[in-house]
C-alpha cells in the first residue's frame, strides 16, 4: 500500500510541471498574437498590484493594457515600439528589467561595484596580516623547552 502511494506521489510530482496551464486563456484570437502578448506582458509590471506581471494580473488596468498591446501587435508594431509606447506613459517602472540608462546604472552595476569593493578590502586585509605576522626564530631557551615537550610526548606514546 505504502509503495503504491509513494509511486503515485512520484508520478504526480513529475506530472505537475508538465501540465500546460496558460496564465490567461487565449481569447479565441490569432494564437500568434496571443503568444506575443503573453511574452511581452510577462516582462511588464501591473501598476496596480506592482508585484504581479501584466500577464498574471486580473486588475482592470492590466486588462486594458493587454487590450492595448493586443491591438498594437495586430497593427504590426514591433515589441520595441510597444515597450516604448508604454514607458513613455508609465515610465521605466513598468519594465521588470529596466533599461540600462544613467539613472539605472546604480541598479545594474551597483552589485558588481560592491562585490569588487568587497574583494579589494578582503585582499588588502589578507596582505596586511601576512605582512604584520613576521616569523621570529626561536630563542635557545624556547628551543630547549620545545625539545623537552616533544620528548615527554613521545615517551607517553611509547608507554
Amino acid at each position: 500500500m505504502r509503495k503504491v502511494l509513494f509511486v503515485c506521489l512520484v508520478i504526480f510530482s513529475l506530472g505537475v510541471p508538465g501540465v500546460a496551464w496558460d496564465v490567461r486563456p487565449a481569447s479565441g484570437d490569432d494564437p500568434l498574437v496571443e503568444k506575443r502578448l503573453m511574452n511581452l506582458s510577462k516582462e511588464l509590471r501591473c501598476l496596480v498590484c506592482q508585484n504581479e506581471t501584466l500577464a498574471d494580473s486580473q486588475a482592470g488596468l492590466a486588462e486594458d493594457l493587454r487590450r492595448e498591446i493586443r491591438e498594437q501587435i495586430k497593427a504590426g508594431k514591433s515589441d520595441q515600439e510597444i515597450i516604448s509606447f508604454l514607458t513613455q506613459r508609465y515610465g521605466q517602472f513598468i519594465l521588470y528589467r529596466p533599461q540600462v540608462t544613467p539613472t539605472t546604472y546604480l541598479l545594474w552595476f551597483g552589485p558588481f561595484v560592491l562585490l569588487i569593493g568587497g574583494l579589494l578590502v578582503l585582499f588588502r586585509y589578507i596582505r596586511h596580516h601576512r605582512d604584520t605576522v613576521r616569523e621570529e626564530p626561536l630563542s635557545s631557551e624556547e628551543r630547549r623547552r620545545a625539545t623537552e615537550l616533544l620528548a615527554s610526548d613521545s615517551r607517553k606514546e611509547t608507554a
Binding site: V48, Q50, G60, L61, E68, G91, F93
Partner: protein
C-alpha cells in the same frame, strides 16, 4: 577610534537608505509625463453626450484635469475639497470620468455636487492610458502651452493644493499674463 569609523559610516548610509525606502509610497510612481505635452484627446462630454471636449481646446489656459469615477472610494473623500477649490475659481477643474457607467457617474455628481466645468467620458479608459493613469483619483495641472506641470497620484489634499498646485498655477498665470 578609526576602526569603528568605517562601520559606523556604512551603518548610517544603510540606515538612511532603508529609512527613505520605508517612508516612500511604492504606489507613487514618478510620471514620465511631467514637463511633456499633455496627450491630445477628444471625448464626448459626460452630461451633454452630443458635445465633445478635447484637451487642445484648453490651449492658453492653466487648467486641472482630475481623473475620477463613481466606483472610486478615494474620489469620494477628495470630492468635498474639489468642490471647495472649484468655488474659489482659482483654476478651472475638468473631470475625466474614467471607466464608469454614465448613469452612475451622473447620479454621483447630482448627489455630491459637481466641481467640474465639465467631465469628459473615458468609458474604455483609452485616454487614461495615454495619460499614464493607473488608478483614480489622479490630478494633472496643465499649462497654457498644453504641458503637464504637475501630477498628483491619489487624492488632492489641502497640503498639496495650497503648497503645490495653487502656487504653481498662480505662477503660471502670472507668467502667461506678462
Amino acid at each position: 577610534m578609526g576602526r569603528y569609523l568605517i562601520p559606523l559610516i556604512l551603518f548610517v548610509v544603510l540606515a538612511v537608505f532603508l529609512a527613505v525606502g520605508l517612508n516612500r509610497d511604492p504606489h507613487e510612481v514618478p510620471s514620465p509625463l511631467i514637463n511633456k505635452a499633455a496627450p491630445a484627446f477628444t471625448l464626448p462630454q459626460l452630461k451633454e453626450q452630443t458635445k465633445t471636449f478635447s484637451a487642445q481646446e484648453m490651449r492658453g489656459k492653466v487648467w486641472i484635469l482630475n481623473v475620477w469615477a463613481s466606483w472610486c472610494v478615494t474620489c469620494r473623500d477628495e470630492h468635498p475639497l474639489l468642490l471647495e477649490y472649484a468655488k474659489t475659481g482659482a483654476v478651472p477643474i475638468y473631470g475625466l470620468n474614467y471607466k464608469d457607467q454614465r448613469t452612475d457617474a451622473l447620479a454621483w455628481l447630482s448627489e455630491l455636487g459637481d466641481p467640474y466645468v465639465l467631465s469628459a467620458a473615458d468609458l474604455d479608459g483609452r485616454v487614461a492610458i495615454d495619460y499614464g493613469v493607473y488608478g483614480a483619483p489622479e490630478t494633472y495641472l496643465i499649462d497654457q502651452a498644453g504641458t503637464i506641470r504637475f501630477k498628483q497620484i491619489g487624492p488632492v489634499t489641502p497640503d498639496v493644493w495650497s503648497n503645490k498646485i495653487l502656487p504653481l498655477a498662480q505662477e503660471l498665470n502670472r507668467q502667461g499674463n506678462r
